[in-house]
């Protein structure tokens, strides 16, 4: 059992060699981060494609772990300290706040990360579709694994996932033994996590594997157990271990799809052999590359794209020994990725949507923010995304979110009357008053301060053009720009904006002038956020 051999030298996709400027940089960042700032777009435009892609994929130190934001009743964790290694109480009271803290922390990462990492964590969160309803500490461990391998080696990730305590609980691996095998994980490993389920071509044969393969893999994976899954005393760490007497030591014969290979007993290393066998199939690379493609490019894959994009990129992924970073680098440096036809048609998922409202603006101006208010704010962001159809920590099924797998509509599944109304309520609330961080701290967007950093905020035309260039994936037509201007200065000539904005700037502490300008900007931004275009990336 071993790694596949490098059979051919392939170079992946044809490289992009066209103009590199604002539009290309913005496209790259829109697809790889949660709503880029003007500063980030300009920086990427300035440093060129190669450096920009490299920066997105650069290794990052793990972030500081989530903290106790203000719960004084936690006997194990002081306010401001992290709870990720701490025990819980029997009643689960402490766990409740820690789960909230964890939710906040995830959105804090999404808000602050300048690389692709958080986008990839969400990718894996969807890919594995895992929900863990227990201890926040285990949820954090799971999330940390996804973060560690965000752009790492897929082979190593799948191996660690296979014996992770959260997964052993989620898909019943801990209950699976030689005498009583549980196929749950073995099935999803094939169907969803690696090679993927193809059309049924015979009884129990799904093109890429058979029902017998499910049973064989299940037997090979027996023997793994969880421990300390809800530690209530210091010194105990949730984990997994191999229990030899629950392991099926017999030979496991695979189907013709795997050349009838035999998996022999390898005790606690056997699961690694299982993963290696699955990843030895090019079909696994194809399956994964299609998923990358749908996540980062567009859901509709034509026959031509299957041949010209998916196939070479899959080969690259395979030949790189499943190096995610290298493969994404290839994709993000390709002619195809910057093809104008691929710019703009991606419907934002709820997290992307919500983050793209707030992240371009930032909250640096909230100077009275505290740890507690930050956490409450991020918790509310989490809830907003949940309302819009995505409960980050609880994908609806093991398949993940429908919009990322359900043909033929795919991303359009994010959009319906209810979620659209929810999206509009969100944009209206963020535009009008923002979110409450408690203790009198309000996280509202500083539109007036923000436009001061634009190229020419005095001219309503350049102002609106630049705002839409930052927030929207494609330029608007003139008719739309004119319509937007009518929100800023309804029925007024252009110079009145120059006058009004100038009057405010010359008397910036005048609250009436500020509010007047802010109200007009709110009207404008409400309209921009209300554009159908704003749902696209």
């Amino acid at each position: 059992m071993g790694k596949h051999q490098y059979s051919t030298i392939v170079t992946g996709l044809p490289a992009y060699s066209g103009e590199w400027s604002y539009a290309q940089a913005a496209h790259l960042l829109r697809r790889t981060t949660f709503g880029p700032t003007k500063t980030a777009i300009l920086a990427a435009a300035g440093q060129g494609m190669a450096a920009s892609v490299a920066a997105l994929l650069a290794n990052q130190l793990p972030p500081e772990p989530p903290l106790n934001p203000g719960v004084t009743e936690d006997p194990f964790v002081a306010v401001g300290e992290s709870w990720v290694d701490a025990p819980v109480d029997e009643q689960g009271t402490l766990n409740n706040y820690r789960v909230q803290s964890f939710r906040s922390w995830i959105f804090q990462q999404a808000m602050t990360d300048e690389t692709i990492k958080e986008k990839m964590v969400l990718f894996w969160q969807n890919h594995f579709g895992l929900t863990f309803n227990g201890n926040a500490r285990v949820r954090y461990m799971w999330n940390s694994l996804l973060r560690e391998f965000a752009t790492g080696n897929f082979r190593e990730l799948v191996k660690q996932v296979t014996v992770h305590p959260a997964m052993l609980v989620f898909l019943n691996g801990t209950q699976s033994s030689a005498n009583s095998p549980n196929e749950n994980y073995g099935r999803e490993l094939l169907e969803l996590y690696t090679i993927g389920k193809g059309p049924q071509i015979a009884e129990g044969d799904y093109s890429n594997y058979t029902e017998d393969d499910v049973r064989a893999l299940t037997r090979a994976l027996t023997g793994w157990r969880i421990e300390n899954i809800n530690p209530q005393a210091p010194g105990l760490t949730p984990g997994s271990f191999f229990q030899s007497n629950r392991h099926d030591t017999g030979d496991k014969v695979l189907s013709y799809h795997f050349n009838n290979q035999v998996i022999q007993d390898a005790q606690e290393d056997e699961y690694k052999n299982v993963v290696d066998i699955l990843l030895n199939e090019l079909e696994t690379a194809r399956y994964m590359v299609r998923e990358f493609y749908r996540y980062f490019v567009y859901y509709d894959i034509s026959d031509q794209e299957e041949t010209e994009v998916i196939e070479p990129l899959a080969q690259f992924f395979y030949d790189s020994d499943y190096d995610v970073a290298a493969t994404l680098e290839n994709l993000f440096s390709s002619q195809h990725f910057y093809d104008i036809l691929n710019r703009g048609p991606l419907i934002k998922d709820p997290m992307n949507y919500i983050m793209s409202i707030v992240r371009p603006f930032g909250f640096d101006h909230v100077t009275d923010a505290t740890l507690a208010s930050d956490y409450l704010f991020y918790q509310r962001l989490y809830a907003r995304v949940l309302d819009a159809g995505m409960d980050y920590l609880s994908p609806p099924t093991v398949s993940g979110w429908e919009a990322w797998y359900q043909a033929p509509s795919y991303h359009r599944n994010w959009i319906n009357a209810s979620t659209l109304q929810q999206r509009t309520r969100n944009t209206d609330q963020f535009t009008d008053i923002g979110l409450n961080g408690g203790g009198g701290v309000r996280y509202s967007i500083d539109f007036v301060g923000w436009i001061a950093n634009l190229e020419n905020p005095f001219d309503p035309n350049t102002l609106i053009e630049e705002i839409t260039r930052i927030l929207l994936p494609q330029p608007l037509v003139q008719e739309q720009l004119d319509a937007l201007k009518d929100f800023l200065i309804p029925g007024l000539p252009d110079f009145e904006w120059t006058d009004e904005y100038g009057a405010y700037l010359s008397d910036p502490t005048n609250n009436m002038l500020f509010t007047s300008v802010e109200n007009k900007l709110k009207d404008l931004f409400r309209a921009i956020f209300g554009l159908a275009e704003f749902h696209l990336s």
């Binding site: 048609p345 009518d486 929100f487």
Partner: protein, 516 residues
Amino acid sequence: MNRRNFLRKAGLLGIPLAAAPLNVSFTRALSTLVDPDDDKVLVLIQLSGGNDGLNTLIPLDQYVNLNANRAALMLPENSLINLTDNQAFHPNMTGMADLFNDGKLGAIQGVGYPNQNRSHFRSTDIWTSASDAEEVVTTGWLGRNFASDHPTYPENFPNEDYPDPFAIAMGSQVSQTCQGTGVNFSMALNDPFNVTSLAVGGDTPLPDTPYGEELGFLRTSIGQANAYGAVVQERAEAGNSLVDYPDNGFANALKNVAYLVSGGLQSKVYVVNLGGFDTHASQVVAGNPQAGEHAELLQTLSDGMAAFHADLAALGLEERVISMTFSEFGRRIAANDSLGTDHGSAAPLFLMGSCVAPGFLGSSPEIPEVADVNEGVAMQYDFRDIYGSVLQDWFNLDPADVSAVLGHDFVHLPVLSLCDVVNSTETDTQTEELTASVYPNPFASRINVSLVSDGSQAELSIFDVTGKRIELVFSKRLAAGRHRFFVDLENQPAGAYFVRLQMGTRTLSKRIVKSK
């Protein structure tokens, strides 16, 4: 249960009588606000940009002085449409003149507020929020009404009791008048017969690319997702319009209002916007003051309103609908050098419909021989008194509730009638004219104001020519009889001022000059 009675009762029990300051957020339910069983409709006509009232409603008794200050703009006297001996409309306003002659138009002179702000944004905020000039209020005067009745909106709306939008803003933009504490109560509506074009630019062409495909999908979805989209379209299709309207966006919006009201939409408020009144330049055509941007705007306004009210009459809706214009400010008395006028102060406000008090409230603005370069039209009536009177008389609100929602007491003005149409030329809405003597004029340091009180609430104040109130001499109930007041203006610079007196519903504005 009769909801109306229920609300009335709740209102009687639960309303604080004292008016709260506006900056206190309205979180408590005030209950009996816009009555859901009442079928009255208010159509607000927003004249964006600041309408030149002096070129709209021309004071014939001031014609000579007006001509001295704005000769380049001045309409020939024989071109004007005389309404009364002293008042005339712009020659393009035949439609509104007909409404006047039919007793369906009331004009209130010199409408503004103390300390006129001449910023479009700020003054629009003041007019839409009904705040004081010095106060920042982010809710709208109608939005507060709706918000106090429905604090949880839009959660669980629409519902069985409230299937329709509270207010409709014709166009792409919701109306600031309907802004609640966190959410706007108006639905922006471009075309009630095609609600899929709700989003801005919803009808611009789509490129034949994946981007265009997804955009098309989203636009359609957004149109369909509007909570009120279906009901609005249904009502519009059930509605009717029986007269010809001019072919322009403004008239078309009014026509759509007629369809919606006649189709049974229960929205209480419609806001129709007509922009372009910011006539700093080319207000008139050089050498031909009857032509130009302002003339075209007034034509659009007047013809649209005439068609709309004719339609309401034909549809049998006259007793349910009134229209009211507003604009953030009037323009200055003197013309500028670009055939235009700059931001000013007060201006006339028009109410239309068979239920308005026809004729005039207030008197001609006083135009001096030589107006100060910054001089605007003096304020006679506070716009919030008009709002309050409309809320009380038209929406049948308790005066205490009106005060609470407006944030201060208001003077009830006779701007609405009992819907019994009479010929306005036979009506004298102005009871005995308010008089006072102000002397000396010109003055050196102080003036005497001598007046006869009828025993009602009175207010005396001094304004400068920009509309700033420099002194509130008193605001109180005066005993009946003659009173004399001295007002010391020693510390004020030389120049023109206005003495404003209000007694009950009557007002008086007198221009005085402090000599050098």
